[in-house]
């Protein structure tokens, strides 16, 4: 995209409002989403956001108002009810967690869609814009919306900071926490409520369908880069904020695309890059490490094969053909490059066109690597 769009954040008032709003909601959902991910409740966010839709519709039907606080309150109430319903079903019946989640998600979302259609069929025009809650439209964020997002988000983050050690205990070892006297069920409800807040403040900009990505993806990405909760949570917040701003700016200035999908693409890019590239847990560094180790092992095998040949045919010939070594190796194609590496180190020497012998230095290195009792052959 053209860089001009991003400099306009600082000059264009509307764009600045949108960027501030999406940064705030991205930070809050990323930070609190970390706890959902660590507690393996990532899907719960999906259910909560879908379940919020009928709440938005009912809040509008009852009040006739589109004030952000009214709609957010309706969304929070419905999202919370849906989450509570899942927990209750799992607790009271033999229905499994994923089944309960799927049921509640689709029932609430279905009711929400019916109500939304009903509202849109009404003759008056006051309802215009309510359907943006499906896929989100960050461009519709006004000053008052941003204030609501920032206010509720700050409350949620403050509660998280105050209850930091209790929430850590809940996420890592709730049984131990219970024996210390902390009411774990109560803390569970508090954390769930905070996550509900994080979700509902994002619905206008990101939409109910894709909001759960803002809860899950930044946290999954942040986990890749650090082994400390105190770093993971703010980092997930930063990832969420960056994706939110980037996605919102792209969608509202250039293309008028719904914001939700664009933000999700941004946050997914961050998550995929983190999964692949993060230094310790990333797939690519892991692959590099295992390849390096594999090569070291094969190099040692070639060296030890060469020594075995030397012992069997002592004094017969100055060198041994690489072809023989290839026959001895499990991976024949790797023999020549390994021989080259070994000869670079001075551990083997070339005696003919493709004939090799182990050097004194190579013998010593092999002894050292295999240890004193390493002569297993």
């Amino acid at each position: 995209m053209d860089g001009e769009v991003f400099t306009r954040i600082f000059t264009d008032y509307t764009l600045r409002t949108v960027a501030l709003g999406t940064a705030a909601l991205g930070f809050v959902s990323g930070a609190l989403g970390s706890f959902a991910v660590l507690r393996k409740q990532a899907l719960l966010g999906d259910a909560t956001s879908h379940a919020a839709l009928p709440g938005i519709a009912v809040a509008f039907l009852l009040t006739g108002s589109k004030a952000p606080l009214v709609l957010v309150l309706g969304a929070a109430l419905a999202g919370w009810l849906g989450t509570l319903a899942i927990m209750t079903i799992v607790g009271l019946s033999r229905v499994k967690y994923d089944t309960a989640l799927g049921m509640i998600l689709s029932v609430f979302f279905g009711v929400g869609l019916v109500l939304l259609t009903f509202i849109q069929r009404r003759p008056d025009a006051t309802q215009a814009g309510l359907d943006t809650y499906l896929f989100g439209q960050a461009a519709t964020l006004l000053d008052r919306d941003v204030k609501t997002i920032a206010g509720l988000g700050a409350i949620a983050l403050l509660a998280m900071a105050l209850l930091w050690k209790e929430l850590k205990l809940l996420s890592f070892d709730p049984d131990f926490g219970a024996t210390l006297g902390f009411p774990m069920r109560g803390l569970d409800i508090i954390l769930t409520s905070l996550i509900v807040i994080a979700i509902v403040i994002g619905l206008q900009a990101v939409g109910v369908v894709l909001m759960s990505a803002m809860v899950v993806a930044p946290a999954a990405a942040a986990r890749q880069w650090t082994d400390k909760l105190g770093i993971m949570v703010p980092l997930a917040g930063v990832f969420g904020a960056l994706s939110g701003v980037t996605g919102a700016v792209i969608s509202s200035s250039a293309t008028r695309m719904p914001t939700g999908p664009v933000i999700v693409l941004c946050v997914s890019a961050v998550a995929v890059a983190s999964l692949l590239l993060a230094p310790n847990r990333g797939l690519f560094p892991q692959w590099l490490r295992s390849r390096r180790q594999r090569h070291a092992v094969r190099k040692e095998a070639v060296l030890s094969d060469l020594r075995a040949l030397e012992e069997q045919h002592a004094g017969e010939a100055p060198g041994h053909s690489a072809a023989v070594l290839r026959m001895m190796a499990p991976n024949p194609a790797g023999v020549s490059p390994r021989l080259q590496e070994l000869s670079d180190r001075g551990w083997v020497a070339k005696t003919g066109s493709d004939e090799w012998t182990i050097t004194e230095e190579g013998l010593r290195a092999l002894e050292a690597q295999l240890g004193s009792g390493g002569d297993e052959r």
Binding site: K165, D173, T179, L180, D227, K228
Partner: protein, 271 residues
Amino acid sequence: MPETSRRADANPKADSTAVEVADLTVAYRDKPVLWDIDLSVPMGVLMAIVGPNGAGKTTLIRSILGLVRPTAGQVRILGKPYAKQRRLVGYVPQRGSVDWDFPTTVLDVVIMGRYGELGWIRRPGAAERRAAEEAIEKVGLTDLADRQVGQLSGGQQQRVFLARALVQDSLVYFMDEPFQGVDATTERAIIDILRTLRDEGKAVIVVHHDLQTVEEYFDWVTLLNVQRIASGPVDEVFTDSNLRAAYGGRAALFSRELAEQRERAKGGDGP
């Protein structure tokens, strides 16, 4: 080198009862897991709870700790209901009960043992850190204190949980299979720490599954199989007939091995 326990003043008389369980019954969906358990454990003992799989060993300590709601029965710790005595009770859960991939360090987990004392909202500070470092040293993990807990071996993770219980500085300890998945050296290190706790006059109650080591490690034992089979000092209670009662037919093997062990012990060159 006397142990300077923060609770030295609160140390009760050695003859007081650490744990008193009366008529404890626990059922899952109409099926009794524990049936009418009576139990009395004095202070200053190291007690094993043994019994076959599904005997309710873990459920027994979880219901004493209020993690499982019993159908009936009472639990008293040092003469008062458990809820009033939490601060005097330490707990080592099964290693498999948490996700070790959690982003947290050894030091961080051990400090959790002080959370109960800290209460709501207050953050751990230098004093908590010091106590944790001390406990980490006791279990021999000082070099690994800043490691993420998932990078540790099973035995090391078990020692992290033990260190967390040590910083609780409790009088009565419950441990769920602290020897599970640890090597012989770690097992010795752990049992040494448990003996030290006992010698300080504390009560240590351990769910244990290796009958071979009961006589060597413990001075008290409770044999459990849904019902309480027997409970008391090892040399009185850990008998062939009690083992057979707890383990049914499977005990034949164990009791033969035990008889051999005793023969060897009598011969003078026992373990």
